[in-house]
Amino acid sequence: MLRRLRGWLRAILRHDAVEGEMQEEMRLHLERKIERLVARGLSPEAARAEAMREFGNLGRIQEEARDARGVQWIESALQDARYAVRGLRLKPGFAFAVIATLGLGVGANATMFGIVDRLMLRPPRYLIGPERSHHFYFGRSENGVERLGQAAQYRRYLDLAEGNSSMDVVAAFAPRQLAVGAGDIAEEAVFGAASASLWKLFDARPALGRFFTAEEDRDTDGARVAVLSYSYWQSRYGGSPDVLGSTIVIRPAQYTVIGVAPRGFAGVALETPDVFIPIAMAALDDFGPAWATARAEYSMTWLEIYGRRKPGVTLEAAEADLSAAYRASYRKQIEMEPGTAPIDLARPRVVLGSMLAERGPAPSANSRIALWLLGVTGIVLLIACANAGNLLLARALGRRREIAVRVALGVSRGRLLRQLLIESMVVAVLGTVAGLLLAQWGGQLLRTFLMNSVEWDSPIADRRVLLFTTVTAVFAGLLAGLAPMLQAGRSDQVAALKTGARDGEGRRSRIRAGLMLVQVALSVILLIGTGLFVRSFTRVGRVHLGYDAGRLLVVQVRLRNVELDSTQQVALRHALLDRARQNPAVEGATLAYSVPFSGTRSRRIFVAGVDSTSRLGEFIEQAASPGYFTTVGTRLLTGRDLLPEDGPGAPLVAVVSADMAKVLWPRQNAIGQCFRTRTDGAPCRTVVGIAENVKQASLGSEAAYTYYLPARQAGEFEGRLILRIRGEAESQREAIRRDLQGVMPSAGYLAVRPMARVVSQVTRSWRLGSTLFAVFGSLALVLASIGLYSVVAYSVAQRKHEVGVRIALGAKAGNVVGLVMRDGLRVVLAGVAVGAGVALAAGQWLSPLLFQVSPRDPWVFGAVTGVLVIVALIASGVPALRATRVDPATVLRED
């Protein structure tokens, strides 16, 4: 093996020397033979001829000899590669088309693979034993339906960590948005609140300093220490080693930096936290005085649990063991909170899932979209392959005579196929380079769009992506090279030589037509997907929300550790409201319990004459100060607004949504009716107004039951401020935050979010789907139209002679155009039919991702067909018109 390797190496490195040696040896042989024949009395010329004859075909012997040395394939491969490169250089247009085509396909795939890999395939970096490491999910049955959740309490974490015998490590983790710095410079950073055991899940050494210990992670006598992520260290501290020992203000306390995590370390999260702090200290500072009770109870679920099985413990055994610990913990919870569902009904159990949340058992929409897009880019790649294959084939057909000559000169068919293969490989390699560049630039955009807070490696620096890209490219090259190879393997070379200038006349390549059909069909599928998503997205955009999302800012008060009693809380909010109303940019301000899609709560309500309201659906309770409806832009349909007079002593009132009025009091006037909230015994609230429906749980068309209570009649709550901004809200955000911050007690700060951004979270999947489908769909369309153009243009060039004859015989321009276009159009129509059929059949899988659009939407199907027919007309029309200008005299003389 080694010797053979050496031989190959020698063959490559010392190619000329080895080759020279061989020729020298044969030359010497020949010389001696001639000498001997001359000695026998032949003339030198005759002797030479005789010797050569006996020697046979010198070139062939050398080739055989090379074969024997086992290096033939390398030599000829290099030779073929050089030949291919030369060929590409000679036709830069063709080269660009092929390489760009493959590059687009490969680049799109590299990008999407990078994303899917991060979401679903690649375990967190530095993780020990990925197959034994798990994210804990907690199953509980409600009404016989099991719900799986990841959130857990600190107490539960301790119970499980201490009560199991199957795990090496159990760790708690909670991502937090916390403010760093004080006063105006306060900004939010992402914190990883982690138990000290979290570090044991990883085989990571700190880049600087050390990680925190179990002693420091105790809420009784722990230490406020922080470990910075590598990137935060780089960006905020310039990678300076002096950072150790410095303090970092994390409201309301100061933490000492003791270490820096290694490069690329993100812990268990997909998004790299900026700073890691001990979870017990984070809880102490975050919950404030409430923590004293929360730590011992099961009331607050706010963290996630991860762990690693002991070696040799099966998944089932570990789940059984942890479920037993969970049940024991659950019994303690029942003792503390008597209202908790009994254990036989709740049937609590632990499910050990993948470390990657998107792998399930409860994945988000992100992974679904990413997988869809991977499928889409796969189709784009197939189209690119078909297109590149078509281009290569066109060229191979154009070279039929050249190939025929080479075959006649003794080049074996195998060698010929190999050369075609190598040619497509060269193209594939160049395409990969183009694709990687594309993935580098375009992919950045896509990744920011899809998951902007994840730390990404550049695709060129990422080994897995690089490997995937290479494999994809080789596959693409093989696929693209297949068509010309099939053709070459089949064609009759002698006939090719004989046909002369009219080569291939009348022959319509079935392979080319087939490739074209595949391209069109795949493009149709993608374009239909695009159409459906774009229509969904426009529908989403046209949904009447019932409020002016674009004009609203949501202000949340984060007090951190500042202790305020409820009067002070209320006073603070009123101070904030007053300050906001004085701001000229603010048109109106109101206090509200929740905002749509964020922090809403639903209550049980009771209405005389209605049996059980909960079977009708959810009733969302909103509490708001007077002026709420004008501020958010919800229209009041009848009745009156909430008024300042609706205070604690006044009669209890409420405004209800139109749907709620209709479902509770059908065919009656809801105004003046009354309902109770929370308990049957509560005092009855009189309906004083009906407001239009608002979308705040989903964008769908399902009924929206909402009722609004006057803030001062709603009990204590820590509400948010909603501000109506003159003009567009987003741009005013920072100025308003600074202005309002002045009212806050020193340690507190404000989180200000534009309402539009809250809504856009909800519409994101459609926006993503429509944008990306549109990008890839138009890419497919461009590729397919290039392909179609090249096919028709090529066949026109091939049939020039025939066209010339027809024109000479008196054919009209129209006849010629029809003749040329007919074939192209026929293929396109067949492709459209096939593609539309597949799309119809596959539509059911897409429908959950659509919004109020049928996957068989006739408009979309019609439009796509129309677009393709138009593209086909143009792509085949241009070469067809060119064909009419064929000058019969010239063409016929060419032969």
Binding site: R3, R4, G7, E21, E24, E25, M26, L28, H29, R32, K33, E54, F55, G56, N57, R60, I61, E64, A65, R66, D67, A68, R69, G70
Partner: protein, 110 residues
């Protein structure tokens, strides 16, 4: 008229080359001459099959090649057996003897 030529049995060329090289390291040209001479012109191995065979054997590590100057001051690539080649030859010779003995016995039955 040269005597009737016999075509070589598949795989016997390697055996012949190894056997001749064991007797004496030789260059390619002399090998062809020697085969012809020893087989009394029955076997005619031309350069077209000899060189690929030599390269093949070299590739397998059974022979090694060296450039040498001959007595007449001519350069030539001289092939000689390696230890592995010797072992291979012994094995192949045994199996050839067994084969030809068996074949002879069968032919005698006629």
């Amino acid at each position: 008229m040269p005597p009737a030529k016999t075509t070589l049995l598949q795989g016997t060329l390697d055996l012949i080359v190894l056997q001749l090289l064991q007797a004496e390291p030789t260059n390619g040209y002399d090998l062809t001459q020697r085969i012809q001479a020893i087989s009394r012109d029955v076997l005619n191995v031309n350069a077209g099959s000899l060189y690929p065979a030599l390269y093949r054997l070299e590739e397998r590590g059974l022979v090694r090649a060296e450039w040498q100057s001959t007595d007449k001051g001519r350069r030539a690539k001289v092939y000689s057996l390696t230890a592995q080649g010797r072992k291979q030859l012994a094995g192949e010779r045994d199996s050839w003897h067994r084969f030809s003995g068996a074949l002879a016995a069968i032919l005698r039955t006629g």
